[in-house]
């Protein structure tokens, strides 16, 4: 009788399918997070986030109820519906909707939360006066006062928490000095690294390289709504040099970035980027290479005055044990308002992280296979069954 080892079948892969490949002898750069160091996310989530969102939805829900059914809400809190309560209720409803939308839009979230605190104070005053009126149901009104007092406490807590978080790298809210991240002279990442070193001792990996090296710091004063940032990484089964060389020629980028139509290298580290935008239009910008370390990293950013502000750094590291190359992209972009805002939203989809991730997967395919793999379903846009089609292929190859 044979055992699996002797059978000749399956190459002895009884560990679930993986044999370790031989570690390469090539010396390699430090990994993104070296051993013995703590990972600290840039996009720090702190208490107050979830609460603020809850309060935003709560505001919106309450406001809409007050607008749609002012009498019902009045009865609920023990008030006799009159023309006056109705109009007061509608006024408060509009206030609630406004602060709800404000909080959920995440712009100046702290201010909107403070607006809620002020609103609660006003409501407590109004309710207190109603409770003394004999025509109302006192028990219900008293219960409403306790409820509003509870919400008041939550609002106050959320407002102070979100206020503390100002200066957040992601939201781009002003810090304690009223300075926006990236604004003149302050490099967020250096500051962040400094803080984290102070808090967590030496060796914060973000700090070692300072996040995106370009920063938008020199022209960030022009961006109104702050910066957004996404980080993505993938492992490609090729050597660092080959991958670096491919990426360094920006004209290759449209081969794997779905929304890019073309990139033209203009010389002097400058390039012109054209991306597809809704309704068959395009959006263009010029970018410059701000840092270029062979086989290690490339940083670029859009030039001041561009329609689309963005900056990125791509880093390359040999994966441990000769498992190819880890490619890491940090993309920072400032969604401008209005029409261009819509274009950018489309450019990065709703979820830019997913978009960059898809593009990186395409990058891996281009590097490992020379083209992007298509299925019957993926060769064409939109949902459709997995069967051959007579239509020409719509996706990049």
């Amino acid at each position: 009788m044979e055992t699996s080892q002797q059978s000749g079948v399956g190459t002895g892969l009884t560990d679930g399918g993986f044999t370790k490949r031989k570690a390469s002898a090539v010396p390699r750069a430090l990994p993104f997070v070296p051993a013995g160091e703590h990972y600290r996310p840039l996009n720090v989530r702190r208490g107050g986030d979830g609460l603020a969102n809850f309060l935003g939805w709560f505001s919106l829900g309450l406001g809409i109820s007050q607008l749609v059914a002012p009498d019902g809400v009045a009865r609920l809190i023990g008030l006799r519906p009159t023309e006056r309560t109705r109009s007061t209720m509608r006024g408060i409803g509009m206030r609630e909707v406004a602060s709800g939308v404000g909080i959920l839009s995440q712009k100046r979230q702290a201010d909107w939360l403070w607006a809620r605190v002020a609103g609660d104070t006003m409501d407590l005053g109004l309710l207190g006066r109603s409770a003394t009126n004999d025509r109302n149901e006192r028990e219900r009104t008293t219960a409403a006062i306790f409820a509003v007092a509870g919400v008041f406490a939550l609002d106050l807590f959320a407002a102070t928490q979100v206020g503390k978080r100002s200066g957040s790298l992601v939201q781009g809210q002003p810090d304690d000095n009223g300075r926006r991240p990236g604004a003149g002279g302050g490099d967020n990442f250096e500051e962040y690294a400094k803080n984290s070193r102070a808090n967590g001792g030496p060796g914060n990996y973000r700090g070692e390289e300072g996040g995106i090296n370009t920063g938008l710091r020199n022209d960030a004063g022009k961006t109104k709504s702050g910066l957004r940032m996404t980080t993505n990484t993938i492992t490609v089964n090729k050597g660092v040099e080959e991958i670096y060389d491919f990426w360094r020629n920006f004209e290759n980028l449209p081969r794997f970035m779905r929304h890019l139509q073309s990139v033209k290298v203009l010389g002097n580290g400058r390039s012109k980027w054209v991306a597809n935008a809704p309704a068959g239009t395009t959006v263009e910008w010029e970018a410059e290479t701000t840092e270029d370390r062979p086989s290690e990293l490339i940083s670029w950013r859009s030039l001041p005055g561009s329609q689309v502000h963005n900056a990125g750094t791509v880093r390359f590291r040999s994966a441990p044990g000769g498992r190819g190359t880890e490619v890491r992209v940090d993309l920072e972009y400032a969604p401008p308002a209005g029409k261009l805002g819509a274009m950018v939203a489309m450019l990065f989809r709703e979820e830019p992280g997913q978009q960059v991730h898809d593009d990186l997967r395409n990058f891996k395919q281009v590097m490992e296979l020379g083209e992007i793999v298509l299925s019957d379903a993926s060769a064409h846009k939109g949902m459709h069954p997995a069967q051959p089609s007579n239509k020409p292929v719509e996706m990049k190859l």
Binding site: T3, S4, R361
Partner: protein, 390 residues
């Protein structure tokens, strides 16, 4: 061309669809001579596998003749007869280099769907929904085969379609299920499910040195096949109170050294637990019904191996992790890395060590696919395995 399309729950239809074309340079187009209906196709048929679209062409067990090759395919030429592995794999990525082709990192264009549902994405699969890539399947007259220079295996002239067709999926899947048990001489192996994969798992366990194999099912003709063709001791779970107790009785109280789950997400059983599982599955609270898996875990001897090759898709409840942890069980599983088993198993067939044709009970025309699905699903007419011919 004609192709068998999924048109909704319990509804497949052979329809006219456009012929496949070369899309990527390493593609080949195959004229299909034989294809089969897989037990896992029934999970799609019964509507338990997510991300199906009306019109999807089914089928991942197929073979045929090369009629066209892309410019990146150098090892195949028009007229070659090939058998096609069900996992689509590139051969270039880290997983493929390690031999784990069902984990190919490049072959699933819808990897993002799978990543959202499972954390990371498995490979693309022919005719198996959009989460596994959205590739048209092989229950058709023609199919496009990506990475044709890596996957398909040329078939020796003297071998018939039926001898090699199951190299596409069920024979390697069952073999891997047995191989993952690390069988040593004297071992007793228990196999849940006597469908085609179960039959081959019994045979593979014997090939790999098992002393005895015990098979569990409740379909009499399938148990009969397991006894007569594969040589198992059989248990009809409808006739006993507790499968784990019977397995203890048959193994001196120790329990089987390894248990292979060849059932997957649509397991059947008795009692409150089964009713509860079925209810939750219907309500979409859990995707899978892990009846066989729970039994396998509870039955396995201390320190033994539970090998899962039946297909699961999503979430389960009441997984006896305490039994696994405290009794040092080893769980081994995976979609089969077919590529690495095809050639060695082809050699075993050539040498006469195994004849996979014993599971075939029905030979039908592609046009009759709908009828085939119906009888296979309902286990009518002693149906074990259906081969469809063009």
């Amino acid at each position: 061309m004609k192709a068998n399309c999924w048109m909704g729950k319990n509804n497949v239809q052979v329809r006219n669809v456009p012929d496949p074309k070369i899309l990527n340079q390493r593609d080949a187009i195959i004229r299909i001579t034989s294809t089969a209906i897989c037990g896992s196709d029934l999970h799609l048929y019964n509507g338990f596998t997510p991300t199906m679209e009306k019109g999807d062409i089914l089928g991942h067990e197929f073979m045929g003749e090369v009629v066209e090759v892309g410019r990146g395919v150098n090892n195949l030429k028009v007229g070659d007869r090939v058998v096609v592995p069900f996992p689509i794999a590139c051969g270039n990525c880290g997983a493929c280099e390690a031999g784990a082709t069902s984990l190919c990192e490049n072959s699933n264009p819808n990897a993002w769907i799978a990543e959202n549902m499972m954390g990371h994405a498995p490979c693309g699969i022919f005719g198996y929904g959009h989460m596994t890539g959205g590739f048209a399947g092989g229950q058709a007259e023609y199919a496009r085969v990506p990475f044709a220079d890596f996957g398909p295996l040329k078939v020796p002239e003297e071998m018939t379609d039926e001898q090699v067709l199951f190299l596409t999926d069920i024979l390697p899947t069952a073999y891997m299920g047995a191989e993952m048990c690390n069988i040593t001489p004297g071992d007793t192996i228990a196999v849940w499910g006597c469908g085609p994969v179960g039959q081959f798992a019994i045979a593979s366990a014997y090939l790999l040195g098992a002393e005895k194999v015990i098979a569990i099912d409740n379909v009499p003709y399938r148990l009969q096949m397991a006894r007569e063709k594969a040589g198992a001791i059989t248990i009809n779970f409808d006739e006993v109170d507790s499968v784990p107790t019977v397995l203890k009785e048959l193994t001196g109280g120790r329990g089987p050294d390894a248990c292979i789950d060849c059932v997957g997400m649509e397991g059947t059983g008795h009692g409150v637990q089964f009713a509860h599982d079925r209810l939750k599955q219907m309500a979409r609270i859990q995707v899978d019904r892990p009846i066989a898996l729970r039994e396998a875990i509870m039955s396995c001897r201390n320190g033994g191996t539970v090998s899962i090759v039946g297909v699961y898709a999503g979430l389960i409840d009441k997984f006896p992790i305490g039994s696994v942890m405290n009794r040092s069980l080893r769980i081994m599983t995976g979609q089969c890395h077919v590529h690495r088993y095809m050639k060695p198993l082809l050699e075993r067939i050539q040498k006469g060590e195994i004849d996979p044709t014993f599971v075939i009970t029905h030979r039908m025309k592609l046009d009759d696919a709908a009828e085939g699905y119906r009888i296979f699903n309902k286990k009518l007419d002693n149906c074990e395995k259906i081969v469809l011919k063009a």
